[in-house]
């Protein structure tokens, strides 16, 4: 009898103790200023966001650290959505995103957030059609119709008209898109929505969309894996990914009517064409850019900073870093497959950096 009583007592006690602990643990993690000065004089700055610019950001942070050993930047590539959320909640000092923040997201933040373009990327169409080795040409509306599922065969007159002399087979078109939410998808659907009203109303623009047709592959590697294996397929991957893996891709007609193949140069040209009309907050889409030689499916990627950061020391360090990244740092871009910013945009950003209150 005594034993049983003791057992219940023990369980009740432990439950009470554990519940007490649990109550404490379940409290939300309060936003830390993220600049916990660890070792003597060293400043650690935390950031999070887009995966697309991760290779260049980690290169920059490590190069900058060798120049300024007291500043360590810790960047977690958790995705644009996560980056926006964490910078809004102030759990990290800076964020990074492939698609500009919406008005609602900006309003949700505890202070004014500024966008700073850092480098550029592009998205290219990749395809696999048995017997076709020629580089195909696409227009925006044709790409939109393919991804809407309206063009069902490769020998469709719309494709054939753009590619005279190419023997297109009567095979079915299989659309391959990204299954994971991604800045790559954002750039691609942003372009298709600009050139096709039907795509805009039926699909719209976001990092994940409701695709009317096709199969989803996870990541650039998932999409390119499916495309290389599936006869008759078409997908889209980042320009860097296609270049590094030597995947052939098609050219796309730009707003000036030229068929342009994705390249670092053509992407920077698209940014330069957009520069004269750059809005003050840099939240601009440069897909379907005007101008000769501009590649139409290009985009900036942005770093997000508070205009009036709580942690002034970290704010000063980040402004200094940004000035370096926009000038000396740009030379690392092309090697990693990113297009560097045009000088006119750098000048505008230098001025915008002055607005950050660091004292």
């Amino acid at each position: 009898m005594n034993k049983i009583v003791m057992r219940y007592l023990a369980v009740a006690l432990t439950a009470a103790v554990a519940a007490g602990c649990g109550g404490g643990n379940s409290e939300p993690v309060t936003a830390n200023s993220s600049s916990g000065s660890g070792t003597a004089g060293a400043l650690q700055i935390n950031g999070a966001g887009a995966t697309f610019p991760y290779p260049i950001y980690s290169k920059w942070f490590s190069e900058y650290n060798t120049l300024h050993p007291n500043i360590r930047v810790n960047y977690q590539s958790i995705g644009s959505g996560g980056g926006i959320q964490q910078v809004v909640n102030q759990t990290v000092f800076f964020g990074a995103t492939d698609g500009p923040m919406t008005e609602d997201q900006l309003k949700a933040a505890g202070g004014r957030i500024l966008h700073f373009p850092t480098v550029l990327g592009a998205v290219v169409p990749v395809y696999n059609i048995s017997g076709v080795t020629a580089e195909l040409k696409f227009t925006g509306p044709v790409l939109a119709d393919i991804f809407l599922g309206k063009i069902k065969k490769w020998n469709d007159p719309a494709i054939a008209k753009l590619n005279p002399g190419v023997m297109l087979p009567a095979t079915d078109v299989t659309v391959v898109h990204r299954s994971d939410g991604s800045g790559t998808t954002y750039i691609f659907v942003d372009y298709l929505s600009k050139v096709s009203p039907e795509f805009k109303s039926q699909v719209g623009v976001s990092t994940s969309v409701k695709w009317p047709t096709g199969v989803g592959g996870k990541g650039n590697e998932g999409v390119s894996g499916l495309v290389t294996q599936t006869p008759g397929s078409i997908g889209y991957v980042e320009l860097i990914y296609a270049l590094q893996n030597r995947i052939s891709f098609g050219s796309v007609q730009n707003a000036a009517g030229e068929f342009v193949k994705g390249s670092v140069d053509a992407v920077t040209k698209a940014a330069a064409a957009a520069a004269p009309n750059m809005p003050a907050d840099f939240r601009v889409s440069i897909t379907n850019a005007q101008g000769a030689g501009a590649y139409p499916i290009s985009s900036f990627t942005w770093l997000l900073l508070y205009e009036d950061p709580k942690d002034k020391a970290a704010g000063k360090a980040m402004v200094d870093f940004m000035r370096w990244a926009l000038t000396d740092g740009q030379k690392y871009a092309a090697d990693l497959g990113y297009a560097p910013l045009p000088p006119s945009v750098v000048t505008l950003e230098q001025a915008a950096l002055d607005r950050i209150k660091v004292s």
Partner: protein
């Protein structure tokens, strides 16, 4: 009672309580973080198929369907194989081979999910596509085999899940069969049973454990994420076709969670997590209930009688 004993009890009691607490904490988090989506969609969330992050419309039906369909298919493929392996190893296998076979099945269980996924993309999917393109037109007219031959889709997902759960089910079924007393088999032989009949009697004796092994495999199939994401095609649609690209709950979470910045979108994804949690819970409770109801009527005498009863 000595004080050291009390300390021990409190200690292990705390561990047990922590387990309970973790489950409750997960449930509470899932419910609170999905409130937005629950308020907006209510029960409609379970029954509608529209998943449109741009328009802010979310329905979980294709994901629930895909998860259950792929898991049930995997179970149908894996269970006979896994039980066959277990019976062979525990009852028929020459001693020299036994260690090797056990080692190999355990090795299969230790392979990371992502490796299965890569193997799926590069080996299984092309093989499935070859089967699909080689299928006669008359069969392709059936609803189970309709749609273009893509390779990726429900069939590839079910196959890869089956390969992944076979080692689990067979390892546990093997251990369960080992616990059947030798007297059971001896008694069956004494009654004139053949080898097959004796094994059947042993399996009947161990049936609760075997059901447990199968249900464990089912639970694993429900929650499996990475390998399935890589081969299922990730297209949210409710389709009977084995060749159609579909989607599972775990896969959509893995795919879309990182980029979901909008509050309602995030809440809808967390509600998918809640739905998966509830379904797993229900499956576990049903299998418990099944095992209990079987355990109540379990008696060695009956086991042999039933096993022999078929031909009597």
């Amino acid at each position: 009672m000595r004080s050291s004993d009390l300390g021990f009890r409190l200690g292990v009691g705390a561990f047990a309580a922590a387990l309970l607490l973790i489950v409750v904490a997960i449930a509470v988090t899932l419910v609170t973080d999905s409130t937005l989506s629950m308020q907006k969609f209510g029960l409609r969330f379970w029954g509608t198929s529209n998943w449109d992050p741009v328009a802010g419309e979310f329905g979980a039906l294709p994901f629930i369907w895909g998860t259950l369909y792929s898991s049930v298919l995997a179970l149908l493929i894996a269970t006979p194989v896994a039980l066959g392996i277990a019976v062979f190893i525990s009852e028929l296998c020459p001693n020299a081979l036994r260690g090797l076979l056990i080692f190999l099945t355990e090795l299969l269980a230790a392979i990371p999910s992502i490796v299965y996924g890569l193997w799926g993309i590069f080996v299984l999917v092309p093989a499935v596509r070859a089967v699909e393109t080689g299928m006669p037109e008359s069969l392709r007219a059936l609803p189970w085999f309709s749609g273009p031959p893509l390779g990726v889709g429900m069939f590839a997902a079910a196959l890869i899940l089956a390969v992944m759960i076979v080692p689990f089910t067979s390892a546990i079924a093997r251990e369960v069969l080992r616990t059947v007393p030798a007297s059971q088999r001896e008694a069956a032989f004494a009654l004139g049973a053949t080898r097959f009949e004796a094994i059947r009697a042993a399996m009947f004796y161990a049936r609760t454990g075997i059901i447990g092994a199968v249900m464990l495999g089912f639970g694993r199939a429900l929650g499996e994420t990475m390998a399935v994401t890589m081969v299922i095609g990730n297209n949210p649609q409710v389709s009977l076709s084995l060749f159609a690209p579909q989607y599972t709950m775990a896969a959509v979470l893995a795919n879309e969670f990182t980029e979901a910045a909008d509050a309602l979108y995030l809440a809808a994804l967390i509600e998918i997590g809640l739905v998966l949690f509830v379904i797993t819970l229900v499956v576990n409770m049903l299998s418990r209930a099944l095992i209990w109801s079987m355990a109540r009527q379990a008696s060695p005498r009956r086991a042999v009688l039933v096993a022999r009863g078929a031909e009597a």
